[in-house]
Amino acid sequence: MSEPVELMDVDQALEQFDPAFGIEVHVELNTKTKMFCGCPTEFGAEPNTQVCPVCLGLPGALPVVNAKAIESAIRLGLALNCSIAPRSRFARKNYFYPDLAKDYQISQYDEPIAFDGYLDVELDDGTVVRVAIERAHMEEDAGKNVHVGGATGRIQGAEYSLVDYNRGGIPLVEIVTRTVEGMGERTAEVARAYVATVRDLAKALGISDVRMEEGSLRADVNLSLRAKAADGEDQHAVPLGKRSETKNVNSLRAVERSIRHEIGRQAALLAAGGAVTQETRHWHEDTSMTTPGRSKEEAEDYRYFPEPDLLPVAPSKEWIEELRGTLPESPALRRHRLQESWGYTDLEMRDAVNADALELIEATVAAGASAASARKWWMGELARTANNDGVELADLAATPAQVAELQGLVDSGRVNDQLARQVLEGVLAGEGSPGEVVAARGLEVVSDDGALLAAIDEALAAQPDVAAKIRDGKVQAAGAIVGAVMKATRGQADAARVRELVLTKFGLEG
């Protein structure tokens, strides 16, 4: 399945074309059970251990709607500034694919639960872009295929496939934007920021784990190009080109990169006098490319019809208002409030947001650390560790309470910066709380003046030339003695105190 890959440089493409995009974000809800049956929804369970006759599509099984899923969908709809339909219904979307046990997916079609909303998306430089939401509808997730045989593990060349239906039937809300146009060179950035904002919103609502790497938040990105109008020509008169729909875009970085890739690919096709095929494409993280899937025109007919096994959903005004009352502060407002209270610069704040560290820093501050020290740990040593290990900050063994405790040890002088890093190493290795690591590894700063003075005398005796210099009033020579003492105490001395003691010994002032 190869096609010639000619990419036009994105900047060059943007001189000739204006990109338009639309995004479908699938948010997997974190309900305890599936959308239409009581099967559990734990991620990573053994295959086909969370299935029952309903989600396996066995004959005679009847679906029953999960009330919590409806509640989550309404809250998400409200947070997206949508109208909530006073009456909505489910529909069957018919297609044949082995990850779909029933040969249809229960979804919503003509009567989605939420529609006509918007989401304000803040870009890195503070610009706010309003993205219009067409609809948010409920549906069930499909199972997972593993393709066996062939070299790549991909569908092409596979000899057969294996299916796990644990994910089949987990509730999803699919959020569909209206077409976003006129963003020019910021197109990819806006798309990325939009998905990030949806993620933050779903997280703040507590309705989803929103882990893109586990597939609990997935994006399909539609992109098409419109040629720029010639001088004097009406831009709106220029027709929008055919669109591609890129599936499997499962990280924020991939949203941005896949859009840039599609801009370059479509521009090259159009500039060479070719045409864009309306089709589904797949994003490949490893090669940063999209490859064609099936052609859209062939399979678009899903023969939707109202799901006869389910009754309409008609939330009362009272219920909707009650749920509106449970909406959290919007992620953007929260960011502004936290930045002000922490006194971070725009850059510091942006780094913390991008590293997904806000909650961790907030909890660390709540546990007693200053905002500056919380940032120092989470964005410094801990961010480096997470990066090296290829995990998220939140997945590290260190908790905000432990980080606050560690900073407390530094502030009280019980450990110095160098020792604190060793303590953190112990905490990350699962050796216990900072206090426990200090005790177990014997990392406390030596603050016993007697022990320090003995070490100082030893150092002076070993370096008589240095001792003579200090005696002559050369204050800076004391550094060599401090260094020797630090070495002798394996870094466990308080360097400032050692220096003070050395100078006092010779009747000097620092």
Binding site: K32, V65, Y160, L162, P306, P315
Partner: protein
Amino acid sequence: MSSISRDDVARLAQLARIDLSDVELDRLAGQLTAIVDAVAQVSQVATPDVPATSHPVPLTNVFRADEVRPPLGQEAALAAAPAAEGGRFRVPQIMGEEP
């Protein structure tokens, strides 16, 4: 009156993965047209004050609490599968068909 053409039937048959002969296509096109026309008579008596319905039972909001019920278990789930491997259902090669 509406009418179902032979092409419509052929397309539906393809979407539904039903292999129909030429004779069957012709016969079904005629039969389906008769059925659709019969159903269409309903719209002649439907007036704007009659709401469209997709369900005969006048009920809404039939929900279930979000409480786990024991699943089948892997062995029972796979018991009737024509083929299984590593706890998964084994299916034939998938050719160029995706959702």
